[in-house]
Amino acid sequence: MKRRDLLPAIMAGMAAGGSGIAMPSAVPATPRRAQSLSQFMALDPIENFRQAMRLQRSLEDADDILHWYHFIMVAVPLNATPKPVVRWEGIEFSRHETIGENRYRMHGHNLSFPRDLKSGAFVTEVRNPVSGKTVAVPPMALTQDPGLVRSPFGVITLDKPSLPPRPDYKVLRRENDFVKVDGIRVPPDTWPVTFLEMGTEAAPAALFDDPAQTWLPTEVSGAYVFPWPAWMQMGDAPGHMFAAWSGCKLRSVDELPEEFRQRAARDFPELLHVDRRAFERAVPDLHPG
């Protein structure tokens, strides 16, 4: 099931609804729906977890999950106008394996390349719009993820495995031809305070309603708040960064855009695979939650 095969029809199909407006827009002809649907899904915690897992990853006992996205970073200085800084194109490539009933261990990595805000060309430096300085901006390749365990009780980050799971926020809802999960991920208390991540992932409702589909194609969007990165050279200036992404879940690296995939294959070939050795590391004192 490829996203590229599905989405055009869904995008066309979303133009559903009744008639009767005084000045209808000149939009493509589409089937009409008696009622526009928007409904929160009342699921028990286990089913909520399983369906969120299915949307965000898959329900297979073990699976590699690839997300690809563009995102734009915005500087948010205190009491001043926020300003866009740089575009990125990147992937998150991860693997999960079940370690118990409705309990999964996950490891992964991210790789992103900076792109010019306007032209979209790969860049090596950008202008910091707050300081006015031109700063070098390196690719972001992260392979030091400690991993995590996810269950209906929440998330345990494996650098602090003995701590109880942190509840996370996942609300599922139907919107016409889509099922969406809104998620908010609150980081551990040990992290810098200026951090939060939120997102929405949407799959075609027709596929969601087919229980045989353990992996669902999704469109993803979201944002995260984070402290000034070192490359911004902001010193002690009050404020933070904000980034908003738009992307999708893909089945394989073969579906990545050619230019990104070629660069990743040339510069970081090992990151086009998930390093499964991480699963061989024992996790002593893992909280049972």
Binding site: R4, A16, T81, A121, L148, G199, V220, Y224, P238, A244
Partner: protein, 301 residues
């Protein structure tokens, strides 16, 4: 995205050793009037336009309607977060809302746009309509009202950007707008400027998605879209944050209600019909107010 830890680390762990400064050129495509020249199905890349007029037409067709007079209704849900300087950001409340805009071409490629917004607060966890939420920073329950934005002065929108109708000088506000292809989809990324007189801590950014089939169909003057985005804004009065330094962020997910008010989600539409039925109609009288001399000068030039 499964792991926000990686995102945190990435902001502090720069410089992969094997990085090369030399990259292949970005694939770029031309698109005349947003619909003219096809882009091959295998391509992913940034779309370029012959000039700013063509680029503007693509944007206006995506966000509004290229006809002389039209409406755009969008429906969305968004969650607002409070960011207090030096403290962990916290989600506050979910909203369900609509933006209803109505516009008329006044000359060439310039349209006059008026709009109103209406949003109802919903409980973060249950999704039920609510009128009280907890402010985690003051640890107090606060009353929260529906959000009605009815005083938008209106704006001119054309290839030079935006010109608010209450502008005292002719200073078109340029925007950041990029269109790119993702296989069968076209994505439009748009960051709006802060007009003069607005709070300093304000920015709004969206990413709207349309099918390439619709995008390259010249008979479609108003493109059906899915959209997501965010905005940064000061603490609203109902948060009762006093002089605390910080701000709010709202992150939304929504779509164009292609067939107008009947395409709004039922519970939302029924509540609007019960409480403010007039807001389910375009307020065309807004467009009858005379333009200032400054605006008339802007149009004439």
């Amino acid at each position: 995205m499964i792991d926000s830890m990686r995102r945190l680390l990435l902001t502090h762990a720069p410089a992969a050793a094997a990085w090369s400064a030399f990259a292949a050129p970005v694939a770029a495509h031309s698109a005349e009037a947003g619909v003219g020249e096809s882009v091959s199905a295998a391509d992913d890349g940034f779309i370029t336009f012959a000039d700013k007029n063509e680029k503007f037409k693509a944007l206006f067709r995506l966000e509004r309607d290229l006809r002389d007079e039209g409406i755009t209704l969008s429906t969305y849900q968004f969650i607002t977060y409070a960011l207090v300087h030096g403290q962990r950001p916290q989600p506050i409340v979910r909203w369900e809302g609509m933006e209803f805009s109505y516009f008329r071409r006044i000359t060439g490629l310039t349209w006059r746009i008026h709009a109103h917004n209406l949003s109802y607060p919903r409980d973060l966890h249950t999704g039920e309509f609510t009128s009280r939420v907890r402010n985690p920073f003051t640890d107090s329950m606060i009353d929260i009202e529906p959000m009605k934005l009815l005083d938008d002065p209106g704006v001119l929108h054309g290839p030079n950007g935006y010109l608010p109708l209450d502008a005292k000088t002719v200073n078109w506000l340029d925007t950041y707008h990029v269109l790119r292809t993702e296989g069968p989809l076209i994505k439009s990324e748009h960051i709006r400027p802060t007009p003069d007189g607005w709070p300093a801590m304000f920015i709004e950014s969206s990413c709207s998605t349309v099918s390439r089939k619709d995008f390259f169909d010249p008979s479609v003057t108003a493109l059906p879209y899915q959209t997501s985005g965010f905005y940064v804004f000061p603490f609203p009065a109902w948060m009762k944050m006093g002089d605390q330094p910080g701000h709010m962020i709202g992150a939304w997910s929504g779509r164009r209600a292609v067939n107008g008010p009947r395409d709004l989600p039922r519970t939302f539409r029924e509540r609007v019909a019960r409480e403010n039925p007039e807001l389910l109609e375009p307020r065309w009288r807004e467009l009858e107010r005379p333009l200032s001399a400054v605006l008339q000068q802007a149009i004439a030039s």
